[in-house]
């Protein structure tokens, strides 16, 4: 963070706290702090052309076959919530990261970090969810690992899954492919997962009928790719929400993205919870939604294909790729004015009043 060393003290503003000499929770938010950590600490040690693409999955050529490879860790609290649990998330999350590369998911690994004292019943329930989710997604868990840490060194159960899939040779999806004029498609309502988790947290007891949207999206992707090959990029907007995924695409493709606020589908329960808690649904996590950037002439065809799929019933065109405001996401508000949809610095914080 070079700006730390160049603070203009003559400005005499109250107190910069920029020195980040330790990990803060915000580093895991998917916002700007996460990006800084990646760029400044993690990537410099690892640089290679595959990793540098920074897509949700790596796609590597192995003996003429395009293999998609990805990994994800799951640290959700609580472990069980309406709509799913840490097991379903761990399967669907990794399947989706493969699917966003256009891959057919094939095999998963499963690594468990168990905290001393975790009830075996809890573990059995999670394993059953993993079995069901893998069967539904048509993937096999073919390797795994188990570690136990002392009480206090973990939070009950952490799960890591890695996944391998096969990419059809004609498919090339990446965040750097968007062009001005492209349309932005969204497969359904936003914020369901994040609000479900929040509503389950201790100290936030509000009643809500909303459930996590966790789902495996690879069959939806396959249907979309069958409808048209003119898909530039796919993303599942998980932590950091719509905003983080779109900002990433805008930055990587050096384009602007303009969203239409009225077009973004959101459940009343989610909207209500966000209003009450002072949160912006554009930053709230999803676990079963995808964003597609598509060639304008193919947009309607792809949208039709999405509408035919159970996970794409509520799909909409929510925006356009532009050559104005390159690197930025903007939103046409309900009032017809325009504002930025910025990357958040760290976690979205509840406002005071």
């Amino acid at each position: 963070m070079p700006q730390e060393t160049k603070l203009d003290l003559a400005l005499n503003c109250p107190i910069p706290i920029a020195a980040r000499d330790s990990i803060l929770l915000g580093h895991g938010s998917g916002g700007r702090m996460s990006g800084d950590l990646l760029r400044n600490v993690l990537l410099p040690a690892l640089q290679n052309p595959v990793l540098d693409r920074l897509d949700d999955q790596a796609i590597v050529d192995v003996g003429g076959s395009l293999i998609a490879f990805t990994t994800d860790s799951f640290v959700v609290k609580p472990l069980f919530f309406p709509g799913g649990d840490i097991g379903t998330l761990a399967v669907n999350g990794t399947v989706n990261d493969l699917a966003m590369g256009g891959a057919e998911p094939l095999f998963l690994s499963l690594a468990l970090i168990l905290e001393e004292g975790l009830p075996l019943d809890t573990l059995r329930r999670v394993m059953e969810s993993i079995r069901v989710a893998a069967a539904l997604a048509g993937v096999a868990v073919v390797t795994g690992d188990t570690k136990v840490v002392e009480k206090g060194s973990g939070d009950g159960l952490f799960v890591n899954t890695s996944g391998i899939g096969l990419v059809p040779s004609a498919v090339r999806l990446s965040a750097d492919q968007s062009r001005p004029g492209d349309r932005v498609l969204l497969s359904g309502t936003i914020g369901d997962h994040g609000i479900t988790i929040l509503s389950q947290r201790e100290g936030l007891e509000f009643e809500s009928a909303v459930a996590s949207d966790t789902a495996a999206l690879h069959t939806l992707v396959a249907d979309m790719l069958r409808a048209s090959s003119e898909i530039r990029c796919l993303r599942d907007p998980t932590r950091g929400g719509l905003s983080s995924s779109l900002n990433e695409i805008a930055a990587r493709s050096r384009v602007g993205i303009e969203l239409e606020e009225k077009a973004i589908p959101i459940r009343e329960e989610v909207q209500g919870a966000c209003e009450m808690l002072g949160l912006d649904p554009l930053y709230v996590a999803n676990e079963g939604k995808l964003l597609a950037i598509v060639e304008p002439t193919a947009a309607e065809m792809i949208l039709d294909a999405m509408h035919q799929h159970p996970l794409g019933h509520n799909a909409r065109i929510i925006g356009t790729v532009t050559d104005a405001h390159r690197g930025m996401v903007t939103l046409r508000t309900r009032l017809g004015t325009s504002r930025i949809v910025d990357l958040l610095s760290g976690d979205q914080l509840p406002r005071i009043c």
Binding site: M1, Q3, E4, K6, L7, D8, L11, N12, C13, P14, I15, P16, I17, A18, S22, I23, L24, L25, G26, R32, M33, D36, G203, L204, E268, Q271, G272, E275, L277, H325, M328, T330, T333, R334, L335, G336, T337, S338, R339, I340, D342, L344, S345, G346, L349, P350, R351, I352, C353
Partner: protein, 369 residues
């Protein structure tokens, strides 16, 4: 969504703006008091819609922004003790003190937690008798009653491990300080709707008479604010100055009498230092002597903690509405939400952060920044 969409209707908004254009015959400078109102103005681009000449300046109503540096330092000192669990509202954790912030204290092992309501802090204290639970209570008259209630309940239950670091601030003395300043430019105020929901608006009539300034108590949705602006401009154009209530669906003349009763029971008015502005007499609330056993400042001996705030800082002028965030040479470059130089860049209700978050592209387009 019912009760929300009605207040975000584009057609009605355009209608109000057109009416404003017809009524305004000359420039007017208005101030919205609340950070929540600033947030709505920026989020919906309302400043973009207004007829030229109607200028909004952003008042000191962001409780996070105006909390004195030394109060943050006290919270940090208390939170660093191994026996303490410090509980607060979310956005207080990012506010820089003299040397660090509460997020860093948490990362270093301090037990710092976020809640939405002080009663959650009470619950935590009951369930964890071995922890000394401190609620960091900031905010205007809006959040004060719930905090007062928590202390009142703790005393009634004889809860020994609960205390409060209270640094509440009051709106009317801040308006008085702004209006008394020789540099004041503000000709009308959008009053703080949620503060008035608690306190009513009797006090604002005194201010109106004292300074002959129109005040319209306003809500927080786009149409609330546009309507309040129209009501203010109408008064100004007609040469009137009265207190009007735009936010009648929430605010009554008397306010919430039960809330006022518990406030008076637990808190008393005190002098208070405001970050970026300085000391304002009788502008805060602190715990009454009868509740001294629950005063974290006394319990942890932090009463003597002081911190020198730089005397010259543009955040002071921003908080007083004398300058816009974009008038600062550091805005968006050396001062961002990741590396805030001043408090208004920290909270999403702060004027600088609201500009940064929602309006940067318009500034780039107009060459303003």
């Amino acid at each position: 969504m019912k009760y929300l969409d009605e207040y975000r209707d584009e057609k009605i908004a355009r209608g109000i703006v057109a009416e404003l254009g017809r009524r305004a015959t000359r420039p007017w400078v208005l101030m919205e008091i609340c950070g929540g109102q600033t947030h709505t103005l920026m989020r919906y681009g309302i400043d973009e819609m207004l007829p030229a000449g109607i200028e909004l300046v952003h008042g000191p109503g962001c409780p996070v922004c105006v909390t004195a540096l030394e109060t943050i330092d006290k919270a940090i000192e208390i939170a660093s003790r191994p026996d303490v669990t410090l509980i607060s509202y979310g956005d207080m954790l990012r506010v820089p003190g003299s040397h660090t912030d509460l997020f860093h204290v948490k990362a270093q092992g301090g037990d710092v937690r976020v809640v939405y309501s002080p009663t959650e802090a009470l619950k935590f204290a009951r369930a964890n008798p071995s922890r000394s639970v401190v609620f960091f209570a900031v905010g205007f008259e809006t959040t004060a009653p719930a905090n007062a209630m928590a202390v009142w309940q703790a005393k009634r239950e004889g809860l020994r491990n609960f205390s409060m670091l209270a640094s509440h601030v009051l709106v009317p003395p801040a308006i008085r300080a702004l209006m008394s300043s020789p540099r004041n430019r503000v000709q009308g105020f959008i009053g703080p709707g949620h503060v008035c929901t608690v306190m009513g608006y009797r006090e604002y009539e005194d201010l109106m008479r004292e300074f002959h300034v129109p005040i319209v108590v306003g809500g927080f949705e786009p149409l609330d604010l546009l309507e309040a602006i129209l009501m203010l401009v109408t008064q100004l154009e007609e040469g009137r100055a009265v207190v009007e209530n735009q936010y009648a669906r929430s605010v009554t003349y008397e306010g919430n009498l039960l809330a006022q009763k518990v406030l008076a029971e637990v808190f008393e008015v005190c002098d208070r230092k405001w970050r970026g502005i300085g000391g304002i007499p009788e502008s805060g609330l602190s715990l009454r002597e009868e509740y001294a056993d629950f005063d974290a400042d006394r319990i942890f001996g932090t009463e003597g903690v002081t911190a020198d705030e730089p005397a010259e800082c543009i955040s002071a002028e921003v908080l007083q509405g004398l300058k816009k965030p974009t008038d600062c040479s550091a805005f968006g470059t050396r001062c961002t939400p990741e590396n805030p130089l001043g408090a208004p860049m920290v909270s999403s209700e702060g004027a600088c952060a609201a500009y940064y978050q929602y309006r940067r592209h318009a500034m780039a387009a107009s060459g303003n920044h």
